[in-house]
Subunit: 119 residues, 2 copies
DNA sequence: CAGGATCCGGCAAGATACTG
DNA sequence: CAGTATCTTGCCGGATCCTG
Protein backbone atom coordinates (compact mmCIF):
# COMPACT_ATOMS: atom_id res chain seq x y z
CA UNK A 1 0.00 0.00 0.00
CA UNK A 2 2.70 2.53 -0.71
CA UNK A 3 0.91 5.17 1.30
CA UNK A 4 3.03 8.24 1.61
CA UNK A 5 3.16 8.99 5.27
CA UNK A 6 1.15 12.13 4.94
CA UNK A 7 -0.85 13.24 7.91
CA UNK A 8 -4.21 14.86 7.55
CA UNK A 9 -4.89 18.20 9.11
CA UNK A 10 -8.39 18.80 10.26
CA UNK A 11 -7.35 21.88 12.15
CA UNK A 12 -4.38 24.12 11.67
CA UNK A 13 -3.31 23.52 15.24
CA UNK A 14 -2.44 19.92 14.45
CA UNK A 15 0.57 21.07 12.50
CA UNK A 16 3.78 21.17 14.54
CA UNK A 17 4.99 24.22 12.66
CA UNK A 18 1.84 26.09 13.48
CA UNK A 19 2.23 25.18 17.13
CA UNK A 20 5.59 26.87 17.32
CA UNK A 21 4.54 29.86 15.28
CA UNK A 22 1.61 30.36 17.61
CA UNK A 23 4.17 30.82 20.35
CA UNK A 24 6.66 33.09 18.62
CA UNK A 25 4.41 34.60 15.96
CA UNK A 26 1.66 37.13 16.00
CA UNK A 27 2.25 40.75 15.28
CA UNK A 28 4.43 41.83 18.17
CA UNK A 29 6.00 38.76 19.71
CA UNK A 30 8.93 38.64 17.29
CA UNK A 31 10.29 42.11 18.05
CA UNK A 32 9.80 41.57 21.78
CA UNK A 33 11.62 38.26 21.73
CA UNK A 34 14.28 39.68 19.47
CA UNK A 35 14.95 42.39 22.02
CA UNK A 36 14.90 40.09 25.01
CA UNK A 37 17.42 37.85 23.32
CA UNK A 38 19.86 40.69 23.88
CA UNK A 39 19.08 40.92 27.56
CA UNK A 40 16.38 41.63 30.17
CA UNK A 41 14.26 44.74 29.82
CA UNK A 42 11.77 46.64 31.89
CA UNK A 43 8.20 47.21 30.84
CA UNK A 44 8.62 50.89 30.10
CA UNK A 45 11.85 50.20 28.30
CA UNK A 46 10.11 47.83 25.94
CA UNK A 47 7.37 50.36 25.46
CA UNK A 48 9.83 53.05 24.47
CA UNK A 49 11.74 50.74 22.18
CA UNK A 50 8.60 49.69 20.33
CA UNK A 51 6.66 52.96 20.08
CA UNK A 52 4.21 51.57 17.58
CA UNK A 53 2.70 49.09 19.99
CA UNK A 54 -0.12 50.09 22.31
CA UNK A 55 0.40 49.56 26.03
CA UNK A 56 -2.43 47.11 26.31
CA UNK A 57 -1.07 45.06 23.48
CA UNK A 58 2.35 45.02 25.07
CA UNK A 59 1.08 43.83 28.43
CA UNK A 60 -1.15 41.23 26.92
CA UNK A 61 1.58 39.95 24.66
CA UNK A 62 3.99 39.71 27.58
CA UNK A 63 1.39 37.82 29.54
CA UNK A 64 0.96 35.36 26.71
CA UNK A 65 4.67 34.80 26.46
CA UNK A 66 4.85 34.30 30.22
CA UNK A 67 1.98 31.82 30.13
CA UNK A 68 3.74 29.89 27.42
CA UNK A 69 6.82 29.77 29.58
CA UNK A 70 8.96 31.73 27.15
CA UNK A 71 9.72 34.70 29.31
CA UNK A 72 9.99 35.34 33.04
CA UNK A 73 8.35 38.29 34.74
CA UNK A 74 10.09 39.58 37.82
CA UNK A 75 8.35 42.30 39.83
CA UNK A 76 10.27 44.22 42.46
CA UNK A 77 8.14 45.36 45.43
CA UNK A 78 9.23 48.95 45.25
CA UNK A 79 7.70 52.33 44.85
CA UNK A 80 7.58 53.13 42.06
CA UNK A 81 7.10 49.61 40.76
CA UNK A 82 9.74 47.96 38.68
CA UNK A 83 9.14 44.93 36.51
CA UNK A 84 11.75 43.19 34.50
CA UNK A 85 11.22 40.70 31.72
CA UNK A 86 13.78 38.15 30.66
CA UNK A 87 13.93 34.97 28.65
CA UNK A 88 13.41 31.65 30.37
CA UNK A 89 15.58 28.69 29.39
CA UNK A 90 12.75 27.65 27.12
CA UNK A 91 12.86 31.08 25.56
CA UNK A 92 16.61 30.86 25.20
CA UNK A 93 16.15 27.64 23.30
CA UNK A 94 14.53 29.68 20.55
CA UNK A 95 17.67 31.64 19.88
CA UNK A 96 18.84 29.54 16.97
CA UNK A 97 15.43 29.60 15.35
CA UNK A 98 15.09 33.34 15.74
CA UNK A 99 18.52 33.86 14.27
CA UNK A 100 17.72 31.70 11.28
CA UNK A 101 14.43 33.49 10.73
CA UNK A 102 16.23 36.79 10.82
CA UNK A 103 18.95 35.61 8.46
CA UNK A 104 16.42 34.22 6.03
CA UNK A 105 14.56 37.50 5.79
CA UNK A 106 17.77 39.36 5.15
CA UNK A 107 18.73 37.00 2.39
CA UNK A 108 15.38 36.46 0.74
CA UNK A 109 13.22 39.44 1.55
CA UNK A 110 15.22 42.51 2.35
CA UNK A 111 16.92 41.76 -0.82
CA UNK A 112 20.33 41.42 0.03
CA UNK A 113 22.46 39.20 -1.21
CA UNK A 114 25.01 37.37 0.17
CA UNK A 115 26.07 34.33 -1.61
CA UNK A 116 24.46 34.05 -4.96
CA UNK A 117 25.74 30.54 -5.13
CA UNK A 118 22.54 29.02 -6.31
CA UNK A 119 22.82 28.98 -10.03
CA UNK B 1 28.45 55.45 26.17
CA UNK B 2 28.06 51.72 25.93
CA UNK B 3 24.80 51.99 24.07
CA UNK B 4 23.46 48.56 23.48
CA UNK B 5 22.81 48.37 19.79
CA UNK B 6 19.10 48.15 20.17
CA UNK B 7 16.97 49.21 17.28
CA UNK B 8 13.65 50.85 17.73
CA UNK B 9 10.55 49.41 16.16
CA UNK B 10 7.91 51.83 15.12
CA UNK B 11 6.06 49.16 13.24
CA UNK B 12 6.10 45.43 13.62
CA UNK B 13 7.14 45.02 10.01
CA UNK B 14 10.54 46.49 10.75
CA UNK B 15 11.50 43.36 12.59
CA UNK B 16 13.30 40.80 10.43
CA UNK B 17 11.69 37.94 12.30
CA UNK B 18 8.25 39.30 11.56
CA UNK B 19 9.12 39.58 7.90
CA UNK B 20 9.85 35.90 7.64
CA UNK B 21 6.89 34.87 9.75
CA UNK B 22 4.64 36.89 7.47
CA UNK B 23 5.78 34.62 4.70
CA UNK B 24 5.58 31.23 6.38
CA UNK B 25 3.13 32.03 9.16
CA UNK B 26 -0.54 32.69 9.25
CA UNK B 27 -3.04 30.04 10.00
CA UNK B 28 -2.69 27.68 7.07
CA UNK B 29 0.65 28.30 5.43
CA UNK B 30 2.60 26.03 7.78
CA UNK B 31 0.64 22.84 7.06
CA UNK B 32 0.68 23.57 3.33
CA UNK B 33 4.41 24.14 3.27
CA UNK B 34 4.98 21.17 5.51
CA UNK B 35 3.16 18.98 3.01
CA UNK B 36 4.87 20.45 -0.03
CA UNK B 37 8.24 19.81 1.56
CA UNK B 38 7.46 16.15 1.02
CA UNK B 39 6.71 16.64 -2.64
CA UNK B 40 4.41 18.34 -5.17
CA UNK B 41 0.68 18.12 -4.69
CA UNK B 42 -2.43 18.92 -6.65
CA UNK B 43 -5.05 21.38 -5.53
CA UNK B 44 -7.67 18.80 -4.70
CA UNK B 45 -5.09 16.69 -2.98
CA UNK B 46 -4.19 19.52 -0.66
CA UNK B 47 -7.85 20.14 -0.09
CA UNK B 48 -8.47 16.57 0.94
CA UNK B 49 -5.40 16.45 3.13
CA UNK B 50 -6.41 19.58 5.02
CA UNK B 51 -10.18 19.12 5.41
CA UNK B 52 -10.49 21.92 7.92
CA UNK B 53 -9.53 24.62 5.48
CA UNK B 54 -12.13 26.24 3.26
CA UNK B 55 -11.55 26.19 -0.49
CA UNK B 56 -11.36 29.92 -0.70
CA UNK B 57 -8.75 30.07 1.98
CA UNK B 58 -6.69 27.39 0.28
CA UNK B 59 -6.68 29.10 -3.09
CA UNK B 60 -5.87 32.47 -1.63
CA UNK B 61 -3.13 31.09 0.56
CA UNK B 62 -1.58 29.32 -2.40
CA UNK B 63 -1.73 32.55 -4.36
CA UNK B 64 0.04 34.38 -1.58
CA UNK B 65 2.76 31.79 -1.42
CA UNK B 66 3.15 31.95 -5.16
CA UNK B 67 3.37 35.73 -5.10
CA UNK B 68 6.04 35.54 -2.45
CA UNK B 69 7.97 33.16 -4.67
CA UNK B 70 7.78 30.29 -2.23
CA UNK B 71 5.84 27.87 -4.36
CA UNK B 72 5.37 27.26 -8.06
CA UNK B 73 2.00 26.74 -9.67
CA UNK B 74 1.94 24.57 -12.74
CA UNK B 75 -1.32 24.24 -14.64
CA UNK B 76 -1.73 21.55 -17.28
CA UNK B 77 -4.03 22.50 -20.17
CA UNK B 78 -6.17 19.42 -19.94
CA UNK B 79 -9.74 18.47 -19.43
CA UNK B 80 -10.35 18.07 -16.62
CA UNK B 81 -7.88 20.65 -15.39
CA UNK B 82 -4.88 19.64 -13.38
CA UNK B 83 -2.81 22.01 -11.29
CA UNK B 84 0.22 21.04 -9.36
CA UNK B 85 1.95 22.99 -6.64
CA UNK B 86 5.55 22.54 -5.68
CA UNK B 87 8.22 24.37 -3.75
CA UNK B 88 10.48 26.81 -5.52
CA UNK B 89 14.17 26.93 -4.65
CA UNK B 90 13.32 29.80 -2.34
CA UNK B 91 10.74 27.60 -0.71
CA UNK B 92 13.22 24.78 -0.44
CA UNK B 93 15.55 27.11 1.39
CA UNK B 94 13.03 27.12 4.22
CA UNK B 95 13.41 23.43 4.86
CA UNK B 96 15.88 23.78 7.70
CA UNK B 97 13.78 26.42 9.41
CA UNK B 98 10.61 24.39 9.07
CA UNK B 99 12.34 21.34 10.45
CA UNK B 100 13.64 23.26 13.43
CA UNK B 101 10.22 24.75 14.10
CA UNK B 102 8.72 21.30 14.00
CA UNK B 103 11.37 19.85 16.27
CA UNK B 104 10.99 22.67 18.73
CA UNK B 105 7.26 22.13 19.05
CA UNK B 106 7.75 18.44 19.62
CA UNK B 107 10.32 19.06 22.31
CA UNK B 108 8.76 22.02 24.04
CA UNK B 109 5.05 21.88 23.34
CA UNK B 110 3.97 18.37 22.52
CA UNK B 111 6.22 17.35 25.34
CA UNK B 112 8.08 14.62 23.57
CA UNK B 113 11.79 14.33 23.57
CA UNK B 114 13.27 12.79 20.56
CA UNK B 115 16.82 12.90 19.53
CA UNK B 116 18.26 14.98 22.29
CA UNK B 117 21.35 15.03 20.14
CA UNK B 118 21.69 18.69 20.70
CA UNK B 119 24.00 19.43 23.52
C1' DC C 1 5.53 53.02 36.80
C1' DA C 2 3.08 49.08 35.30
C1' DG C 3 -0.65 47.57 34.19
C1' DG C 4 -6.25 46.42 33.90
C1' DA C 5 -10.99 47.31 31.80
C1' DT C 6 -13.74 48.70 27.78
C1' DC C 7 -15.20 49.63 23.46
C1' DC C 8 -14.41 49.55 18.64
C1' DG C 9 -12.91 48.60 13.78
C1' DG C 10 -10.52 45.81 10.20
C1' DC C 11 -9.12 41.96 8.14
C1' DA C 12 -8.64 37.10 7.88
C1' DA C 13 -11.18 33.00 7.90
C1' DG C 14 -15.60 30.16 7.32
C1' DA C 15 -19.73 28.53 4.65
C1' DT C 16 -22.16 28.26 0.58
C1' DA C 17 -23.18 28.77 -4.24
C1' DC C 18 -21.61 29.29 -8.86
C1' DT C 19 -18.27 28.80 -13.17
C1' DG C 20 -14.54 27.63 -17.00
C1' DC D 1 -11.19 19.58 -11.28
C1' DA D 2 -9.88 23.87 -9.84
C1' DG D 3 -11.07 27.45 -8.70
C1' DT D 4 -14.13 32.49 -8.01
C1' DA D 5 -18.06 35.38 -5.84
C1' DT D 6 -20.55 36.85 -1.95
C1' DC D 7 -21.89 37.17 2.69
C1' DT D 8 -21.03 36.54 7.56
C1' DT D 9 -18.34 36.07 11.63
C1' DG D 10 -14.74 35.84 14.94
C1' DC D 11 -10.53 37.33 16.73
C1' DC D 12 -6.67 40.47 16.97
C1' DG D 13 -4.95 44.74 17.47
C1' DG D 14 -5.75 49.77 18.55
C1' DA D 15 -7.24 53.92 21.37
C1' DT D 16 -8.80 55.69 25.61
C1' DC D 17 -9.65 55.84 30.34
C1' DC D 18 -8.84 54.04 34.99
C1' DT D 19 -6.03 51.84 39.14
C1' DG D 20 -2.48 49.92 42.74
Amino acid sequence: MEEKNIEKYHGADECPITATIDVIGGKWKPPILWLLLKGPMRFGELHKTIPGMALKVLSRTLKELETDGIIIRKAYPEIPPRVEYSLSPKGESLRQIMTLLSDWSREHIMGEVMTEHSK
